[in-house]
């Protein structure tokens, strides 16, 4: 289980993932070796999955981001597997989530502009298998995106 120091390390690191272990040690006011050992242990037991660079798709010319909420035809037994397998083949799909609720699957899609989105939607999304219904939520602004856990 995690103790106070582990949580403190994670809180500081979550707030600024570019901090080095030495800087984390300074913020937590403990010896660098101690922090390094704690980090190594949390990596080993899978609490820390890693540090990832965040890609800004808008800076790469992908100005449009849409969340598609998909309901599948559940009378088909392999509906989820077939749909997700096919959705993975669409490069513009950047997130796939499955749900318990009114929505079965959510695809996050990026496109350069509306004509490009239209092309992807018609040629790549509507052709995915076992779709019963689709609703689109177009992103206007990202207000909060840190994905931090309330530790």
């Amino acid at each position: 289980m995690l103790d106070d120091l582990d949580r403190r390390i994670l809180r500081h690191w979550q707030a600024d993932a570019s901090l080095s272990p030495a800087e984390l040690a300074e913020r937590c006011a403990v010896a660098p070796g101690k922090v390094a050992r704690r980090i190594a242990r949390m990596q080993e037991n899978g609490v820390i999955k890693g540090v990832a660079a965040v890609v800004d798709w808008a800076a790469l010319g992908y100005a449009v981001e849409v969340a598609l909420r998909v309901t599948l035809d559940k009378t088909v037994s392999r509906a989820f597997d077939d749909f997700i397998e096919a959705a993975r083949e669409v490069p513009e799909v950047i997130e796939i989530q499955t749900f318990l609720g009114r929505v079965d699957v959510r695809l996050n899609i990026i496109a350069r502009d509306m004509p490009h989105y239209q092309d992807i939607y018609r040629d790549r999304i509507l052709t995915l298998p076992h779709i019963a219904d689709i609703e689109a939520l177009m992103q206007i602004a990202r207000i909060k995106a840190d994905e931090a856990l309330p530790l």
Binding site: A17, G50, A59, P91, I96, Q97, R106, A136
Partner: protein, 151 residues
Amino acid sequence: MTDLDDIDRALVRALARDASQSAGALGRRLGLSQPATWRRIRKLEATGVLRGRQLRLNAEALGFGVTVFLGVKLATKGRVSLEDFERAVSAIPEVQQVEHVLGLYDYRLRVVARDLPDFERVLRRRIMTLPGAGEVEANVMLSEERRPGPL
């Protein structure tokens, strides 16, 4: 918008997976010198293609067993109510993402909780009491997959 060559794209892909890799190690895999790799990474950061880093944690291992996506409709609209709502919702520690969207809902939230009773507490005490919050739809996430995107 920034145009990337194949090496830039490979760098972005690699760093989005694991940002802790050194410029030397990345360069060796891509047939670049350490300084040349470092310069490219700096440029990707300066042009905003790489927008910082994010610590990826295993939410379940840290006791957050439930992730819920909420669609929220505002009961009253107008500029002031949007700002009030955004400020208040962003301040809730369990809310990891807030997106202003166009479609069936006004906002899309990603919320973490320890378990379903804990989620109910967050929903009743924090979300439903937000200024202007109207209809809310909840979908409990079962699985999630992040894709590399069109690189």
